[in-house]
Symmetry: C3
Subunit: 352 residues, 3 copies
């Protein structure tokens, strides 16, 4: 949440956009159309918000390239929301913290801390762990032994990384994230459960972001992996030996049992539940609150419901089900008509 | 969990109740009817528990005003459970901690800490943050820069408040609460996701209580708000830009996506899922495990199911659905009868 | 994740198994059949994996006692997976930490810490709390006043135990666990909610394991209990006054409202929701994502769905429901046939 300042022209060139009107205004912040003031830039995606764009106080508005808005200062681009995000990255870079190791931090002598690292108060870093350049380890984070954290990461307060975990570059772990605890595996004995060994590892690849209080268990014997550029929301549970691909998006409170594979570019809603040994193929989209049975192969497409079905089929079935009360009425009426026919035929037989 | 001691008379006057029997007994604690002993006060709400009240060892029982129980010492009130809660507030006030700043705490020089504040071990308070009088910040809590915490709050261990968050008076944040982390918003580029700016704020108003490990994301561009007197259970997720009104009650593990409005006096069950941009009108009640589709307007009344329907309708539909197996039988029988009729008519045609 | 080393003979005798082939090989680690190398032991449960066993590089494979595999070194046992777990307990004992009280820890003078205890950095232990021999309290864990922790426990980083909580022996609490916070109980007044007293306790019995970020609320007036040998996964919510029996297994993200009883030896899936005052009888199995209505008595057997039904009945009903679209077609066709019959009879009446 630091700030910097750019001209409209600099921002347009950053996103490969075309300036309409003045390119000289200084832009300090991004804002929504409604709230934007002098010195702020907003964006508009479609015609529904053109009127808001017309009355916005923003110094500049990012607009779709084929729009015909008349505004004092516009940047025309193909994808205004993406341009807005890219501009925000420049105007509001993540908070930088000067390299420092707080005097209260407890760093093992064998730990290998790069020069340009921020380590906050009450942080622990264990034996043989490595912290890459540009990384921030904020107050109260606890890092075990033999952990590798790449460069330019932000490890937020009270995160815990268990022994042996590997974190790539530019990873963001929000407060309360827990990585590398034992998976949930037991073998029933006569009158007790014995822990199935949970001695594997976790690998979190580059550019991953994990939301607050999300947990990722270590592999039982192998590893748990979260691929490059994948984003998880708050309180997601990732079980042991899961293999989650690249650019996967998973919304809050979804739970993933052990040994689930989710291939690249899947989109998973919130509060979804996965049984174990599921294989989700690249490009699948699973709606919020869905339930996926153990062992299921989920093909590309949009899926919904408990247990999941293709969205079209789910909608069709539900439309049919909503007709059941009417069907009962129709069935009853039909029975009466059949009874009447039977009565008539019987009467006639009597008459014959 | 401190304790104090009052006479039955003092307690009756506190809750505006009528004493039946002695008002002199000293009461030290509240207890359930079954477990209560000498020196303890219990309550009974309705006739189902009158027999328990008769055999209770409690020194005094709070009873409904129209009840005709014969007990050694009673307080008659309109709402016994409420009176019990009010009496418990007096007999068991929240634990007080003497004002102190633990020597291990790391407090920025620019922080403004009121005189009567308890700050526990391993706490951080960042630049320009303000802590109001009577507030307790317990061990391991981490408070960022430019945070305002009002008076008489209890911030339990390992809570994290990110930069710029505002907390009202008499707020209770249980252990592991995380407030002000980035919301979950990305814009898809060609082969990666870019963070949609998450640069807004969070405002938690007076008398709010948030359960353990609950998370509240900051607004993307605006703010996330939780209104006065609202109570959230454990592990609730509140997304960016949500506006939750006053006196709302939300049970555990419910997840609320971005830009959801919940008006005053709603009651939301546990494990409910809200899509984004939902508007729940004042007085709505949503049952546990319900799912609310994005953009939905939820009117006052009782709602249930995935997706939500009025409870009556939900029950009716489910009653109908449970009749489907019988309907299939009836349909089959009817088909046989129609076939028989067709056969008879055909035979007769043959005979004619 | 320490290591030790045993011969095949020693391991076979540990699990009461029969050695086929050499008993002399030194075994250092457990591994999966596929990944195992020289010095590692794997297991195979059934014929589906016999081929993998044949090509495995493991120095020894644990096999079912009636199998007829030809491998260089085998241990035959009744339950290979259990034997594997028992062997892993020996080869990979939990990490030991030398007794130590880190100089940064804040321990109340009245606390009673056994001699052989590890207390990590930034730990707090409150007044009159007791920590048993062999227990590890890892960095950043916070333990309140009057807490009892038994012997040989592992309290992982950033755990919080509130005042008065009791923890048995050999209990494992993973990072971020919160025990003993106020339950979620309020009484509505005119224009606000008052806290129903939350002044009870929590008892966690021997050999319990709680997953990361799991929360257990204290009893309102009585106690919340988790019985011996019970295992909870990550982010499980246990409400006030729950009584969970022995050897119960509960998967991730399940939420249990107040005053729920779950008897011994139940198995509960993930993301299950329990209303309050439910009684689950010993041996019941409840499938993932199920919802149990308040006050329900759940008998032994397998349960499924929202609200729960016996699994067989659930499957049968769903099979019927999937036939509804076809039923609508059939009903329509039947109406046409009845109309045709009616027409014919009418015509005939005309002719008569």
């Amino acid at each position: 949440m630091s700030r910097t300042e750019k001209t409209v022209g600099e921002l347009a060139s950053l996103v490969g956009g075309q300036i309409i009107g003045s390119g000289e205004s200084e832009i300090k912040r991004v804002a929504s159309l409604d709230a934007a003031q002098q010195g702020e830039i907003a964006y508009v995606e479609d015609e529904n918000f053109f009127e808001s764009a017309r009355v916005s106080q923003a110094s500049c508005v990012i607009v779709p390239e084929n729009s015909e808005l008349s505004l004092p200062s516009q940047i025309k681009v193909k994808n205004p929301k993406l341009a807005f995000a890219l501009i925000a990255e420049v105007l509001h870079p993540p908070k930088q913290r000067e390299p420092e190791i707080h005097q209260s931090a407890v760093i093992a002598e064998t730990a290998d801390i790069a020069l340009q690292v921020f380590i906050g108060a009450f942080v622990c870093v264990g034996e043989n762990s490595k912290i890459g350049s540009g990384t921030q380890i904020r107050a109260g984070a606890k890092i075990g032994d033999n952990v590798t954290v790449g460069s330019d990461c932000v490890i937020h307060p009270n995160v815990f990384l268990e022994d042996g975990v590997t974190i790539g570059d530019r990873v963001i772990l929000h407060a309360g994230v827990v990585i590398g605890t034992d998976g949930f595996g037991y073998v029933r004995g006569d009158m007790s459960y014995h822990k199935f060994p949970q001695i594997g590892t976790v690998v979190i690849e580059d550019n991953v972001e994990l939301g607050a209080n999300t947990t990722v268990d270590r592999g039982a014997l192998g590893r748990t992996r979260i691929g490059k550029g994948t984003k998880l929301d708050n309180m997601v549970h990732v079980g042991h030996n899961c293999d989650i691909g690249e650019r996967v998006v998973i919304a809050a409170q979804t739970g993933i049992s052990g040994s689930v594979t989710i291939e690249d570019d899947c989109v998973i809603g919130g509060q979804v539940g996965f049984g174990d040994h599921i294989h989700v193929q690249s490009g699948a989209i699973i709606g919020s609150k869905a339930g996926v049975l153990p062992g299921k192969i989920v093909r590309p497409g949009v899926w919904w419901g408990i247990p999941i079905q293709p969205l079209d089929q789910y909608k069709r079935l539900n439309a049919h089900l909503s007709r059941v009360p009417a069907m009962r009425e129709e069935l009853k009426a039909l029975k009466d008509r059949v009874a009447e026919l039977e009565r008539q035929l019987l009467n006639r037989d009597g008459k014959d």
